[in-house]
């Protein structure tokens, strides 16, 4: 059902938890359909210095969350914004078709977190 990479990220999820010093937080999904992903960013000089996530959801939801945190760490915001849900799924060697729309939201959560960071910064 799931690829080896998905199972690897599912069993040993990277960067789980919260970031006390987060200056950008994004959340997508709702419990009605099953997935909630929250991404915490710590951005310094336009670079994502640290990232953590918390996810309520299926194997795919957890694996995509974990994968996206690995993909963005150390990247500039511009680079991070280019990461799509599709790219996350590809980095995991694919997801079952049924999961593509419903659980593959990690990049959306990341983008929400970046938006939150920018809004806060501009608000200041």
């Amino acid at each position: 059902m799931y690829t080896e990479k998905v199972m690897d990220h599912f069993t040993n999820p990277r960067n789980v938890g919260e970031l006390k010093e987060a200056n950008g937080v994004g959340e997508v999904g709702n419990a009605k359909c099953g997935d909630i992903m929250r991404i915490y960013l710590q951005v310094e000089d336009n670079i994502i210095k640290d990232v953590k996530f918390k996810t309520f959801g299926c194997g795919a939801a957890i694996a995509t969350s974990s994968m996206v945190t690995e993909m963005v760490k150390g990247k500039s915001l511009e680079e991070a914004l280019k990461i799509s849900n599709q790219a996350v799924a590809e980095a995991l060697d694919g997801l079952p078709p049924a999961k593509m729309h419903c659980s593959n939201l990690a990049a959306d959560a990341l983008h929400e977190a970046i938006k939150d960071y920018i809004n806060k910064k501009e608000g200041k």
Binding site: A31, G34, K54, T55, C58
Partner: protein
Amino acid sequence: MKRIYFDHSATTPVDEEVAKLMLEYMTEKFGNPSSIHSFGREVHKAVDEARNHVAALIGANANEIFFTSGGTEADNLALKGVALANRKKGNHIITTAIEHHAILHTCEYLEKQGFSITYLPVDEHARVKIEDVRNAVTDQTILISVMFANNEVGTIQPITEISEIAKEKGIYFHTDAVQAVGNYPIDVKELNLDLLTLSGHKFHGPKGVGALYVRRGVRIESVQQGGGQERSIRPGTENVPGIIGLGKAAEIAKRDMEKKIAHITALRDKLTTGIRERISDIKLNGHPTIRMPGNVNFSFSYVEGESLLLNLDLKGIAASSGSACTSGSLDPSHVLLAMGLTHEVAHGSLRISLGRGNTAEDIDYCLTVLPEIIERLRSMSPLSST
């Protein structure tokens, strides 16, 4: 790694003795029961004996048993067969919101054919209310179909009381007893049932074979057309090894019923108590006492069912969940929702269904592994405060 099977409501392993007998009816006694030569006659006789065993398990007469390709087909035959044969009497059918899809989707089909269906609600424990049944009856009602025991939460319905209403009003009563037959004592004559569905693979018989009990005198039409098999009610070359296997499984189930229920109930209570002691923020789904011996169903707050199942699977434990993500649909189990659970709680449900092969060690192992997994998943969950 040791593998523990805790998903007996989904399917069960075929009994060794059953499988051995089936093998014999595949390679040696392979005749077609419709043939008049000796190869056919010996098989015909064996099919009759299997019919006797299935009838005996539920207190029916052999000529009231019609073999089908499983529970789904038997449910289809019961509903469509009765609906079409009794259309002149009325077009109303009463069922419940928590039936298996074999019933619910057949009802939807019948709605398109002009039948009107009442889907009774259930209470928080998944029980139908007798008053609701009584109030739903109209002068158009020709059939009531209420499952014996629910496949997800194990709740057993007030079958005797519903049957009384049906008899009083002169309405046929069908029960989908797929989860119960072979795992719980049932006597169709005592319960005064008109039709009952059973399926082999839920009680150590083979997959792909089931039966519909049809009380003598019930008006029913065939749904499938073909040769004259099963007295033309269910045509098609008989699944002989399947039928022989079903018969043997029925014989064994009847013989071991009491012992099996005692064994499984003890394990269930040990597991239920153990989970309650070790894990907080949980909810037992289904009726606290009026439930199937082997069914344990809990919701764990802040946890999603599929990831719970996958984690258990990695530890060698096979269970199931009412989570949407395991069902391939967007919504979680219609049963849990009908019981009034919120989506979140329904998503976090775990069904452990025990079988005769499970042991106290299996339970102990589960009680070690499960709390750790729940804790880890909760620590990852944005819903949990920990």
